[in-house]
Protein backbone atom coordinates (compact mmCIF):
# COMPACT_ATOMS: atom_id res chain seq x y z
CA UNK A 1 0.00 0.00 0.00
CA UNK A 2 2.90 2.29 0.80
CA UNK A 3 4.10 1.96 -2.79
CA UNK A 4 0.69 2.56 -4.32
CA UNK A 5 0.01 5.57 -2.11
CA UNK A 6 3.27 7.37 -2.70
CA UNK A 7 4.39 6.26 -6.15
CA UNK A 8 3.03 9.48 -7.68
CA UNK A 9 5.21 11.57 -5.39
CA UNK A 10 8.29 9.56 -6.26
CA UNK A 11 7.61 10.04 -9.94
CA UNK A 12 7.23 13.74 -9.24
CA UNK A 13 10.68 13.74 -7.66
CA UNK A 14 12.21 11.75 -10.52
CA UNK A 15 10.67 13.94 -13.24
CA UNK A 16 11.80 17.05 -11.41
CA UNK A 17 15.33 15.77 -11.40
CA UNK A 18 15.28 14.68 -15.04
CA UNK A 19 14.23 18.20 -15.98
CA UNK A 20 16.86 19.65 -13.69
CA UNK A 21 19.53 17.42 -15.22
CA UNK A 22 18.63 18.68 -18.70
CA UNK A 23 18.92 22.25 -17.46
CA UNK A 24 22.30 21.82 -15.81
CA UNK A 25 24.08 19.28 -17.99
CA UNK A 26 22.77 19.90 -21.50
CA UNK A 27 24.53 22.50 -23.63
CA UNK A 28 21.82 22.96 -26.21
CA UNK A 29 19.55 25.87 -25.35
CA UNK A 30 16.56 24.24 -27.04
CA UNK A 31 17.10 21.13 -24.94
CA UNK A 32 17.23 23.31 -21.86
CA UNK A 33 13.78 24.64 -22.73
CA UNK A 34 12.48 21.06 -23.03
CA UNK A 35 14.05 20.33 -19.65
CA UNK A 36 12.34 23.35 -18.17
CA UNK A 37 9.00 22.10 -19.42
CA UNK A 38 9.57 18.66 -17.85
CA UNK A 39 10.50 20.41 -14.60
CA UNK A 40 7.24 22.35 -14.63
CA UNK A 41 5.16 19.30 -15.59
CA UNK A 42 6.53 17.52 -12.54
CA UNK A 43 5.01 20.18 -10.31
CA UNK A 44 1.66 19.81 -12.08
CA UNK A 45 1.76 16.15 -11.15
CA UNK A 46 2.40 17.00 -7.48
CA UNK A 47 -0.62 19.27 -7.29
CA UNK A 48 -3.03 17.03 -9.17
CA UNK A 49 -1.98 14.04 -7.09
CA UNK A 50 -2.85 15.81 -3.86
CA UNK A 51 -6.25 16.75 -5.28
CA UNK A 52 -7.28 13.13 -5.93
CA UNK A 53 -9.80 11.62 -3.57
CA UNK A 54 -10.55 7.94 -3.25
CA UNK A 55 -13.95 7.21 -4.83
CA UNK A 56 -14.33 10.77 -6.09
CA UNK A 57 -15.09 12.12 -9.55
CA UNK A 58 -14.14 15.29 -11.35
CA UNK A 59 -15.50 18.27 -9.38
CA UNK A 60 -18.55 18.90 -11.53
CA UNK A 61 -21.56 18.85 -9.24
CA UNK A 62 -24.12 16.29 -10.37
CA UNK A 63 -27.55 17.58 -9.43
CA UNK A 64 -29.71 15.15 -7.51
CA UNK A 65 -26.88 12.82 -6.61
CA UNK A 66 -26.43 12.88 -2.88
CA UNK A 67 -23.19 11.80 -1.17
CA UNK A 68 -21.17 11.96 -4.36
CA UNK A 69 -17.51 12.54 -3.52
CA UNK A 70 -15.52 14.95 -5.64
CA UNK A 71 -11.80 15.48 -6.03
CA UNK A 72 -10.39 18.75 -4.77
CA UNK A 73 -11.02 21.60 -7.23
CA UNK A 74 -8.50 24.05 -5.82
CA UNK A 75 -5.18 22.45 -6.89
CA UNK A 76 -6.76 21.84 -10.30
CA UNK A 77 -7.46 25.55 -10.67
CA UNK A 78 -3.92 26.37 -9.59
CA UNK A 79 -2.49 23.99 -12.17
CA UNK A 80 -4.65 25.41 -14.94
CA UNK A 81 -2.91 28.67 -14.17
CA UNK A 82 0.50 27.03 -13.93
CA UNK A 83 0.08 25.31 -17.32
CA UNK A 84 -0.58 28.65 -18.95
CA UNK A 85 2.39 30.17 -17.16
CA UNK A 86 4.50 27.26 -18.45
CA UNK A 87 3.54 27.75 -22.09
CA UNK A 88 4.12 31.51 -21.77
CA UNK A 89 7.60 30.98 -20.40
CA UNK A 90 8.32 28.46 -23.14
CA UNK A 91 7.17 30.82 -25.90
CA UNK A 92 9.30 33.66 -24.62
CA UNK A 93 12.29 31.38 -24.06
CA UNK A 94 12.02 29.99 -27.59
CA UNK A 95 11.87 33.51 -29.04
CA UNK A 96 15.06 34.36 -27.18
CA UNK A 97 16.73 31.14 -28.39
CA UNK A 98 15.78 32.00 -31.99
CA UNK A 99 17.30 35.46 -31.62
CA UNK A 100 20.45 34.01 -30.03
CA UNK A 101 20.80 31.71 -33.03
CA UNK A 102 20.47 34.70 -35.36
CA UNK A 103 23.05 36.73 -33.49
CA UNK A 104 25.55 34.00 -32.64
CA UNK A 105 24.89 31.37 -35.28
CA UNK A 106 24.72 28.59 -32.71
CA UNK A 107 22.58 27.46 -29.81
CA UNK A 108 25.25 25.49 -27.98
CA UNK A 109 25.98 27.13 -24.66
CA UNK A 110 29.72 26.52 -24.58
CA UNK A 111 30.26 27.94 -28.07
CA UNK A 112 28.29 31.04 -27.15
CA UNK A 113 30.36 31.35 -24.00
CA UNK A 114 33.55 31.12 -26.04
CA UNK A 115 32.33 33.82 -28.43
CA UNK A 116 31.39 36.09 -25.54
CA UNK A 117 34.77 35.72 -23.92
CA UNK A 118 36.52 36.79 -27.14
CA UNK A 119 35.10 40.28 -27.62
Amino acid sequence: MEILGHYHYWVFAVLLMIGFYALVAKQNLFKKMLGLSILQSAVFLLYITMAEREGGTAPIIQPGVADQLYSNPLPQVLILTAIVVGISTMALGLAIVVRIREEYGTIEDDEIRRMDRRP
Binding site: F20, Y21, L34, P75, S88, L94, R101
Partner: protein, 327 residues
Protein backbone atom coordinates in the same frame (compact mmCIF):
# COMPACT_ATOMS: atom_id res chain seq x y z
CA UNK B 1 -6.89 0.73 -6.28
CA UNK B 2 -7.51 0.48 -10.02
CA UNK B 3 -6.64 4.15 -10.29
CA UNK B 4 -3.39 3.58 -8.47
CA UNK B 5 -2.33 0.58 -10.59
CA UNK B 6 -3.29 2.24 -13.85
CA UNK B 7 -1.57 5.38 -12.61
CA UNK B 8 1.64 3.49 -11.93
CA UNK B 9 1.64 2.20 -15.51
CA UNK B 10 1.13 5.67 -16.98
CA UNK B 11 3.64 7.27 -14.66
CA UNK B 12 6.32 4.76 -15.51
CA UNK B 13 5.77 5.51 -19.18
CA UNK B 14 6.04 9.19 -18.31
CA UNK B 15 9.45 8.71 -16.73
CA UNK B 16 10.64 6.65 -19.70
CA UNK B 17 9.49 9.37 -22.11
CA UNK B 18 11.16 12.08 -20.07
CA UNK B 19 14.46 10.18 -20.13
CA UNK B 20 14.08 9.69 -23.88
CA UNK B 21 13.52 13.44 -24.37
CA UNK B 22 16.69 14.27 -22.51
CA UNK B 23 18.75 11.57 -24.23
CA UNK B 24 17.55 12.08 -27.80
CA UNK B 25 20.13 14.00 -29.81
CA UNK B 26 17.72 14.66 -32.67
CA UNK B 27 15.69 17.64 -31.59
CA UNK B 28 12.77 16.77 -33.86
CA UNK B 29 12.32 13.46 -32.07
CA UNK B 30 12.70 15.26 -28.77
CA UNK B 31 9.83 17.60 -29.70
CA UNK B 32 7.62 14.68 -30.77
CA UNK B 33 8.47 12.88 -27.54
CA UNK B 34 7.56 15.95 -25.55
CA UNK B 35 4.18 15.94 -27.29
CA UNK B 36 3.78 12.31 -26.20
CA UNK B 37 4.90 13.30 -22.71
CA UNK B 38 2.13 15.90 -22.53
CA UNK B 39 -0.50 13.45 -23.79
CA UNK B 40 0.56 10.89 -21.19
CA UNK B 41 0.44 13.61 -18.56
CA UNK B 42 -3.07 14.56 -19.73
CA UNK B 43 -4.20 10.91 -19.54
CA UNK B 44 -2.75 10.76 -16.07
CA UNK B 45 -4.61 13.89 -15.00
CA UNK B 46 -7.80 12.35 -16.32
CA UNK B 47 -7.23 9.21 -14.27
CA UNK B 48 -6.75 11.47 -11.26
CA UNK B 49 -10.21 13.04 -11.81
CA UNK B 50 -8.92 16.36 -13.08
CA UNK B 51 -10.92 16.67 -16.29
CA UNK B 52 -10.35 20.38 -16.81
CA UNK B 53 -6.62 20.12 -16.31
CA UNK B 54 -6.44 17.09 -18.61
CA UNK B 55 -8.24 19.00 -21.36
CA UNK B 56 -5.94 21.98 -20.91
CA UNK B 57 -2.80 19.87 -20.86
CA UNK B 58 -3.89 18.09 -24.04
CA UNK B 59 -4.81 21.31 -25.85
CA UNK B 60 -1.97 23.48 -24.59
CA UNK B 61 0.80 21.04 -23.73
CA UNK B 62 0.41 18.52 -26.51
CA UNK B 63 -1.12 20.87 -29.09
CA UNK B 64 0.03 24.45 -28.90
CA UNK B 65 3.37 23.76 -27.23
CA UNK B 66 4.32 21.22 -29.88
CA UNK B 67 3.40 23.64 -32.66
CA UNK B 68 5.48 26.38 -31.00
CA UNK B 69 8.43 24.06 -30.52
CA UNK B 70 8.27 22.99 -34.17
CA UNK B 71 7.88 26.61 -35.26
CA UNK B 72 11.00 27.54 -33.34
CA UNK B 73 12.87 24.44 -34.45
CA UNK B 74 12.31 25.40 -38.08
CA UNK B 75 14.61 28.35 -37.34
CA UNK B 76 17.19 26.36 -35.40
CA UNK B 77 19.70 23.59 -36.09
CA UNK B 78 17.91 20.31 -35.49
CA UNK B 79 20.64 18.15 -34.07
CA UNK B 80 22.20 18.53 -30.71
CA UNK B 81 25.94 18.40 -30.50
CA UNK B 82 26.59 15.72 -27.92
CA UNK B 83 28.45 16.46 -24.79
CA UNK B 84 27.28 17.11 -21.27
CA UNK B 85 28.74 19.49 -18.81
CA UNK B 86 28.68 19.57 -15.02
CA UNK B 87 27.41 16.00 -14.96
CA UNK B 88 28.88 15.41 -11.51
CA UNK B 89 27.31 18.55 -10.12
CA UNK B 90 23.98 17.70 -11.74
CA UNK B 91 24.03 14.16 -10.37
CA UNK B 92 24.90 15.39 -6.90
CA UNK B 93 22.11 17.96 -6.75
CA UNK B 94 19.71 15.44 -8.21
CA UNK B 95 20.52 12.85 -5.58
CA UNK B 96 20.25 15.40 -2.79
CA UNK B 97 16.97 16.72 -4.08
CA UNK B 98 15.41 13.31 -4.57
CA UNK B 99 16.35 12.42 -1.03
CA UNK B 100 14.78 15.59 0.32
CA UNK B 101 11.58 15.11 -1.64
CA UNK B 102 11.21 11.47 -0.73
CA UNK B 103 11.87 12.35 2.90
CA UNK B 104 9.31 15.12 2.63
CA UNK B 105 6.66 13.00 0.98
CA UNK B 106 7.05 9.74 2.88
CA UNK B 107 4.70 10.89 5.59
CA UNK B 108 2.30 12.94 3.52
CA UNK B 109 -1.20 11.50 3.24
CA UNK B 110 -1.26 8.76 0.58
CA UNK B 111 -2.99 9.18 -2.77
CA UNK B 112 -6.75 9.61 -2.42
CA UNK B 113 -6.79 9.91 1.37
CA UNK B 114 -10.12 11.59 2.24
CA UNK B 115 -8.75 12.73 5.61
CA UNK B 116 -5.85 14.65 4.07
CA UNK B 117 -5.73 18.31 5.14
CA UNK B 118 -5.82 19.32 1.48
CA UNK B 119 -9.32 17.87 1.21
CA UNK B 120 -10.61 19.81 4.20
CA UNK B 121 -11.07 23.47 4.95
CA UNK B 122 -11.05 25.65 1.82
CA UNK B 123 -11.62 22.87 -0.72
CA UNK B 124 -14.56 21.42 1.18
CA UNK B 125 -16.02 24.91 1.48
CA UNK B 126 -15.83 25.41 -2.29
CA UNK B 127 -17.58 22.12 -2.96
CA UNK B 128 -20.27 22.81 -0.37
CA UNK B 129 -21.00 26.44 -1.20
CA UNK B 130 -20.62 26.72 -4.96
CA UNK B 131 -24.22 25.60 -5.65
CA UNK B 132 -25.72 28.28 -3.40
CA UNK B 133 -23.27 31.12 -4.08
CA UNK B 134 -22.59 30.76 -7.79
CA UNK B 135 -24.88 27.98 -8.90
CA UNK B 136 -22.91 26.43 -11.72
CA UNK B 137 -22.09 22.72 -11.76
CA UNK B 138 -18.38 22.98 -12.62
CA UNK B 139 -16.67 23.92 -9.37
CA UNK B 140 -13.34 24.30 -11.14
CA UNK B 141 -14.80 27.06 -13.30
CA UNK B 142 -16.42 28.66 -10.25
CA UNK B 143 -13.14 28.77 -8.34
CA UNK B 144 -11.14 29.81 -11.41
CA UNK B 145 -13.43 32.58 -12.56
CA UNK B 146 -14.92 33.90 -9.36
CA UNK B 147 -13.39 32.82 -6.05
CA UNK B 148 -9.89 33.16 -7.44
CA UNK B 149 -10.71 35.41 -10.38
CA UNK B 150 -7.84 37.68 -9.42
CA UNK B 151 -5.37 34.84 -10.11
CA UNK B 152 -7.01 34.29 -13.45
CA UNK B 153 -6.65 37.90 -14.57
CA UNK B 154 -3.00 37.54 -13.64
CA UNK B 155 -2.87 34.44 -15.80
CA UNK B 156 -4.34 36.33 -18.76
CA UNK B 157 -1.68 38.97 -18.36
CA UNK B 158 1.04 36.32 -18.14
CA UNK B 159 -0.01 35.03 -21.52
CA UNK B 160 -0.44 38.56 -22.87
CA UNK B 161 3.06 39.49 -21.78
CA UNK B 162 4.33 36.34 -23.46
CA UNK B 163 2.73 37.50 -26.72
CA UNK B 164 4.09 41.02 -26.33
CA UNK B 165 7.47 39.61 -25.38
CA UNK B 166 7.72 37.24 -28.35
CA UNK B 167 6.77 40.05 -30.74
CA UNK B 168 9.23 42.38 -29.07
CA UNK B 169 12.13 39.95 -28.95
CA UNK B 170 11.62 38.65 -32.49
CA UNK B 171 11.31 42.16 -33.91
CA UNK B 172 14.85 42.91 -32.71
CA UNK B 173 16.92 44.00 -35.69
CA UNK B 174 13.88 44.16 -37.98
CA UNK B 175 12.01 47.17 -39.22
CA UNK B 176 8.49 45.94 -38.53
CA UNK B 177 6.75 44.13 -35.71
CA UNK B 178 4.34 41.94 -37.54
CA UNK B 179 4.75 40.36 -40.95
CA UNK B 180 2.69 42.54 -43.27
CA UNK B 181 2.94 40.65 -46.51
CA UNK B 182 5.05 37.53 -46.67
CA UNK B 183 6.58 36.33 -49.94
CA UNK B 184 4.03 34.44 -52.01
CA UNK B 185 6.39 31.49 -52.36
CA UNK B 186 6.91 31.30 -48.65
CA UNK B 187 5.65 28.39 -46.63
CA UNK B 188 3.05 27.06 -49.00
CA UNK B 189 3.37 23.90 -46.93
CA UNK B 190 0.65 21.49 -48.00
CA UNK B 191 -0.62 23.28 -51.09
CA UNK B 192 0.37 20.40 -53.34
CA UNK B 193 -0.61 17.52 -51.10
CA UNK B 194 -4.19 16.79 -51.89
CA UNK B 195 -5.15 14.32 -49.18
CA UNK B 196 -3.95 16.24 -46.12
CA UNK B 197 -5.39 19.39 -47.61
CA UNK B 198 -8.85 17.96 -48.16
CA UNK B 199 -8.95 16.25 -44.78
CA UNK B 200 -7.62 19.34 -43.05
CA UNK B 201 -10.27 21.54 -44.63
CA UNK B 202 -12.86 19.04 -43.48
CA UNK B 203 -11.57 19.12 -39.89
CA UNK B 204 -11.15 22.87 -39.37
CA UNK B 205 -14.84 23.78 -38.90
CA UNK B 206 -15.27 20.94 -36.44
CA UNK B 207 -12.21 21.95 -34.45
CA UNK B 208 -13.47 25.51 -34.19
CA UNK B 209 -16.97 24.28 -33.35
CA UNK B 210 -15.53 22.14 -30.57
CA UNK B 211 -13.57 25.16 -29.37
CA UNK B 212 -16.74 27.23 -29.16
CA UNK B 213 -18.53 24.39 -27.36
CA UNK B 214 -15.68 24.27 -24.84
CA UNK B 215 -15.90 28.04 -24.43
CA UNK B 216 -19.59 28.26 -23.73
CA UNK B 217 -20.06 24.93 -21.97
CA UNK B 218 -17.34 25.64 -19.41
CA UNK B 219 -19.81 26.28 -16.62
CA UNK B 220 -21.40 22.86 -17.03
CA UNK B 221 -18.56 20.57 -18.07
CA UNK B 222 -14.82 20.62 -18.42
CA UNK B 223 -13.69 23.62 -20.41
CA UNK B 224 -13.43 27.36 -20.39
CA UNK B 225 -11.63 30.21 -22.03
CA UNK B 226 -8.11 28.79 -21.96
CA UNK B 227 -8.98 25.46 -23.49
CA UNK B 228 -11.27 27.09 -26.04
CA UNK B 229 -8.67 29.66 -26.99
CA UNK B 230 -6.06 26.97 -27.49
CA UNK B 231 -8.47 24.85 -29.60
CA UNK B 232 -9.58 27.71 -31.85
CA UNK B 233 -5.96 28.74 -32.25
CA UNK B 234 -5.11 25.12 -33.18
CA UNK B 235 -7.82 25.16 -35.86
CA UNK B 236 -6.46 28.37 -37.36
CA UNK B 237 -2.89 27.07 -37.20
CA UNK B 238 -4.07 24.06 -39.20
CA UNK B 239 -5.56 26.48 -41.73
CA UNK B 240 -2.24 28.24 -41.97
CA UNK B 241 -0.42 24.93 -42.49
CA UNK B 242 -2.80 23.91 -45.28
CA UNK B 243 -3.27 27.16 -47.14
CA UNK B 244 0.08 28.72 -46.45
CA UNK B 245 1.17 31.56 -44.23
CA UNK B 246 -0.01 34.27 -46.61
CA UNK B 247 -3.59 33.06 -46.87
CA UNK B 248 -3.77 32.69 -43.08
CA UNK B 249 -2.54 36.23 -42.57
CA UNK B 250 -5.12 37.49 -45.04
CA UNK B 251 -7.86 35.65 -43.15
CA UNK B 252 -6.70 36.89 -39.74
CA UNK B 253 -4.48 39.95 -40.16
CA UNK B 254 -1.75 40.29 -37.51
CA UNK B 255 -3.21 43.54 -36.22
CA UNK B 256 -6.55 41.84 -35.66
CA UNK B 257 -4.90 39.03 -33.71
CA UNK B 258 -2.90 41.40 -31.55
CA UNK B 259 -6.00 43.51 -31.05
CA UNK B 260 -7.91 40.41 -29.92
CA UNK B 261 -5.16 39.66 -27.40
CA UNK B 262 -5.21 43.18 -25.95
CA UNK B 263 -8.99 43.48 -26.16
CA UNK B 264 -9.61 40.18 -24.36
CA UNK B 265 -7.39 41.21 -21.47
CA UNK B 266 -9.04 44.63 -21.30
CA UNK B 267 -12.50 43.04 -21.39
CA UNK B 268 -11.60 40.98 -18.33
CA UNK B 269 -10.23 44.05 -16.57
CA UNK B 270 -13.27 46.11 -17.54
CA UNK B 271 -15.57 43.67 -15.75
CA UNK B 272 -13.51 44.19 -12.61
CA UNK B 273 -13.52 47.96 -12.94
CA UNK B 274 -17.26 48.06 -13.59
CA UNK B 275 -17.76 46.03 -10.42
CA UNK B 276 -15.70 48.66 -8.57
CA UNK B 277 -17.78 51.48 -10.03
CA UNK B 278 -20.95 49.70 -8.95
CA UNK B 279 -19.72 49.70 -5.39
CA UNK B 280 -18.19 46.24 -5.05
CA UNK B 281 -14.56 45.24 -4.84
CA UNK B 282 -12.49 44.46 -7.94
CA UNK B 283 -13.97 41.47 -9.83
CA UNK B 284 -16.97 41.22 -7.50
CA UNK B 285 -19.51 39.98 -10.05
CA UNK B 286 -22.35 39.91 -7.53
CA UNK B 287 -22.92 43.63 -7.89
CA UNK B 288 -23.19 43.51 -11.69
CA UNK B 289 -26.89 42.67 -11.63
CA UNK B 290 -29.51 43.07 -8.96
CA UNK B 291 -29.55 39.32 -8.39
CA UNK B 292 -26.09 38.31 -7.09
CA UNK B 293 -26.22 34.82 -8.65
CA UNK B 294 -27.26 36.17 -12.04
CA UNK B 295 -24.45 38.70 -11.66
CA UNK B 296 -21.98 35.89 -11.03
CA UNK B 297 -23.21 34.07 -14.15
CA UNK B 298 -22.89 37.19 -16.28
CA UNK B 299 -19.45 37.99 -14.90
CA UNK B 300 -18.15 34.47 -15.46
CA UNK B 301 -19.43 34.33 -19.05
CA UNK B 302 -17.91 37.69 -19.93
CA UNK B 303 -14.53 37.06 -18.36
CA UNK B 304 -14.33 33.58 -19.90
CA UNK B 305 -14.99 35.25 -23.25
CA UNK B 306 -12.21 37.72 -22.55
CA UNK B 307 -9.86 34.87 -21.67
CA UNK B 308 -10.81 32.96 -24.83
CA UNK B 309 -10.26 35.97 -27.11
CA UNK B 310 -6.98 36.82 -25.47
CA UNK B 311 -5.61 33.28 -25.61
CA UNK B 312 -6.62 32.84 -29.26
CA UNK B 313 -5.05 36.17 -30.17
CA UNK B 314 -1.80 35.56 -28.31
CA UNK B 315 -1.34 31.96 -29.48
CA UNK B 316 -1.81 32.91 -33.13
CA UNK B 317 0.35 36.02 -32.80
CA UNK B 318 3.15 33.91 -31.37
CA UNK B 319 2.69 31.23 -34.02
CA UNK B 320 2.83 33.76 -36.87
CA UNK B 321 5.77 35.55 -35.29
CA UNK B 322 7.73 32.29 -35.60
CA UNK B 323 6.23 30.99 -38.83
CA UNK B 324 6.69 34.21 -40.81
CA UNK B 325 10.41 34.11 -40.11
CA UNK B 326 10.96 30.81 -41.89
CA UNK B 327 12.35 31.58 -45.31
Amino acid sequence: MIVAVFGIFLLTLLVVTAIAIVRSSDLFSAVMLSGIFSLLMAANFFVLDAADVALTEAAVGAGVATVLLLGALALLPTDERQGNRHVGLAALTMAANITVIIYATHDVPPLGDPAAPAQQHVAAWYLAHTPELIDIPNVVTAVLASFRGYDTIGEVFVILIAGIGVLFVLSGGRDQLLPKRPEPTLNTALKHHLIPQVVGRLMIPFIILFGLYTQFHGEYGPGGGFQAGALVAAGLVLYSLIEGEQAALELTPPNLLFGLALGGALLYGAVGVIAMLLGGTFLDYSVLLSDPIAGQHLGIIVIELGVGLSVTGVMLTIYHAFASRVS
